[in-house]
Amino acid sequence: MAAPTDKPRVVPVDDFVRDELYPGYVQAFGSQPFVAGPVRPFSKADNARYWLRDSLHFSEGMVPASIATLDDAQTWGAQLGAEIVGVPPTLGSVNRLAGTHVYIGTIDVDTDWQIQSRAARFGQYVTPVLRDFDSYWSARAGELQSAYDHFDNLDLTAMDPAQLWTVLKDTYAFHRRAWFIHFEVMYVLTANYLALYALAEEIGLEGSQVSAFLSGQQTFYSKTDEALWKLASRARELEVSGPLTHADPASMRGQIETLPHGRTWLSEFDAFLATYGQRTEETCRIDTPSWIEDPSAPLYAIGTFLSKPAGFDFHAARQQAIAERDEQIEAARRAINGSDLARFNEALASNQAANFAWWNEEHNYLIDRRAAIPVRRATLELGARLAADGRIERPEDMFFLFKPELYGLMEAGATPGGAKWPELTAMIPDRRAYFEDWRPRGPQLPTMLGTVPDTVPDPIMIEVFGLSGHFLQTLKAGAEGATELRGFPAAKGVADGTARVITTVADIHLVQPGDILVCGGTTTEWTPVFGIIKACVCDTGGSLTHAAIVSREYGIPCVVGTAAATQIIKTGDRIRVDGRAGTVQVFPSGQV
């Protein structure tokens, strides 16, 4: 036996290195890690299909570093999820960028054999999951939570750049895994929900009622709102309301500190942040801080709540919502008979046990608003070392490097294109200017690019974004000069009032108590504003969209999926929202 040696043994591949597999063959990617390609800019060929502006998830532009997280989320995660679950009509989604702004397209399955074989797989995968959804989801939630525990407890400041690079690679791997979980669960639950929806319509109920049958569960987000209202009422008790309602968020902390009970309130606020602050304002965006880093958003929310004279009784509202829900379920049951009733009860029980309405809110805390935070922290910490070494000017410059570039530089000293640090850092100012140039253009971009279809074959896209036949028709015909918009009746009630058109969450501070909010779509970050508005109208969204759920919670009318509300309605217009009929009437300002 040979003596052990420290020297690694290399059997050289040099003899086998070639440019081509066979003479004359130019290698192309036969199988990428994506079913249908990573995030790309638009090309002419894209005119043949539809592309929907996804302002629901990405209302602002993407910096270069966020392209990798977007890739792993809505492209890779959706495609792997659709593949593993075997969703029959879709292979998931693809993304295109207009400038820096995100569009989403779907990949339809277009042969019968593939649809049939996916359907068989789908049954095998989904049936056991729905039978025991609790165990299935808690295993995944546990996996995500333990990853956060790991990353949150790392002392990044004590690490050298090599260690930080390892952590950054780990956070990317985790981010990708989190998004696979996201889509795996989403596809399963949407199918369950849409089955109940379709059954309801088959047996003579309104499909739009169904989401209300599943409401009333407490989510991490409703708990966050409740905690914020509590902090508002504590601010009144401790007499620190002044700075919260009048000061700029950046100077609020300092002003509160000088008040007699200021420190008490701030310590309660910090305790809130420790529990609820691990979230960012948008999905996948490495350049947005968490609430812990920048608490402007929760401070703004508290200020908004303080502008209402009374608090909001969450307990009473929830009790009432539950009583209404049960009353609606009972009414539905009375309207159905015989075997239909048995089927309805089983479909409802399946949805109560595996509840998309609940998960749709709950998962944001564990995935959408949090998964990119570990990547952000490691990126900025590594950026700080690179800045100290003079490689880049400041840590935030890292946002303007693409992940493959960073990989090349960190592992091989050069990007795949052969660029080294000085050449790359020279590009950062231009990239930053490009991002800034595109930033304000998001709200003006068309809702859809390419060929507007008559119908969308993927029922999940229809549900999530509200791509009904009516929606598509409105886009086709154009809605210029329209005085009535139609959409999905998301929350009942009628309200008259003044429209406030808001196209980015950054502008929600412009919303005044009593306004009717008109927007592209809302996410959890918009929630505080629902405490002061009279009604809500959105361009996109279906029955389970965030705006629909929160409007029901706060008892205000809501219409979603109108396709063109933000284009037709101007701030200051008087409008009437009928949340049961799903209509919005527009009376341009000056006209009564």
Binding site: L130, E330, A347
Partner: protein, 360 residues
Amino acid sequence: MTEAPVLDLGDIRGAHAPHVGPKLARLGQLAYAGWRVPDGYAVTVTALDGWLPATARGDLEQLLTGRTADLSQLADRARALIESQPLPSWLEDAVGAAHQRLGDRTGHGAGLRVAVRSSAVSEDGAGASFAGQYETYLGVTGIAEVLGAIRKCWASGYSAHALEYRRRFGGAGPMRAHDLAVGVLELVDVRSAGVVFTLDPVTGDHGTMVVEGNWGYGESVVSGHVSPDHWTVDKASGQVRTRRVGAKRSWSVFSAAAGRVTLEPIPDSLAGEPCLSDEEVRHLCEQAARIEAAEGVPQDVEWAIARDTPFPDSVFILQHRPETTWIPPAGKPTEPAGETAKTFDPVQYALRNVFKVRGA
């Protein structure tokens, strides 16, 4: 909340559970769905709120903060103090009107005999710990007696709550029996009573229904004091498959003297006789199957047959609840046996009607 202090059973729905307690709410829902249930009315939690006058509350707090160690003695004194308080006249009027309506509806008029039952609203542990202390009065006649029984039911709630609070926290607690409503239901003169299971509770077989019963009130069957008569019925065809006459040594009867249902030795003439005809057995199974279909899960259904009333008007449904023996524990996958009875498969339905997969 502006809620009527007294609700007729016909106006009670499942959603009224916070006001009248889950049992009465379920009974109202059953009545609404068209089942024959004992008619009645409920005095809601809202009516009870704030009933006890401030002076009586003061006396009660003094009593409870005193040094009496003997809890049963204390309970008696607390109860006597509460029972001595008159009901407010608006409430007496509302109960009087509801009682008269009930007399008219049942056709018994002033001769109406009723059961007055405490109905705990909370289904949590607190309610359970008071369970034995909440009262039921059977065979009550006349509005004066009814008002007295309502006051006693409430007093039992106050004293139980107060004593529980004292036991846990010491001293006097908040004097609100906030989780107690009272139901006043016509007293059915019961010939036979028992339970239908919409699946075989022993084997879990969804194709078989089981009926158990005895002569007299259902308490003897529910409490397990007798070996009841036993029928198995084929669910699909409705045919009675097996009949077994139980070794019934006792039965539950209403004793006017005791004012409650008591367990007595059964007369020899009844002991060896089945308490139901096949026709009644089949009818009960039909009713139970419909309740199961409406609820979506297997049920056990308590029933009673009234004496001297022509069939099928004689058949009353008293209450139903999910049959828990064969529901798999939460978090465990369903056994294949449980699936055969399912009529809706979300996966197959989604493939067919959502994803429109051809031939699915």
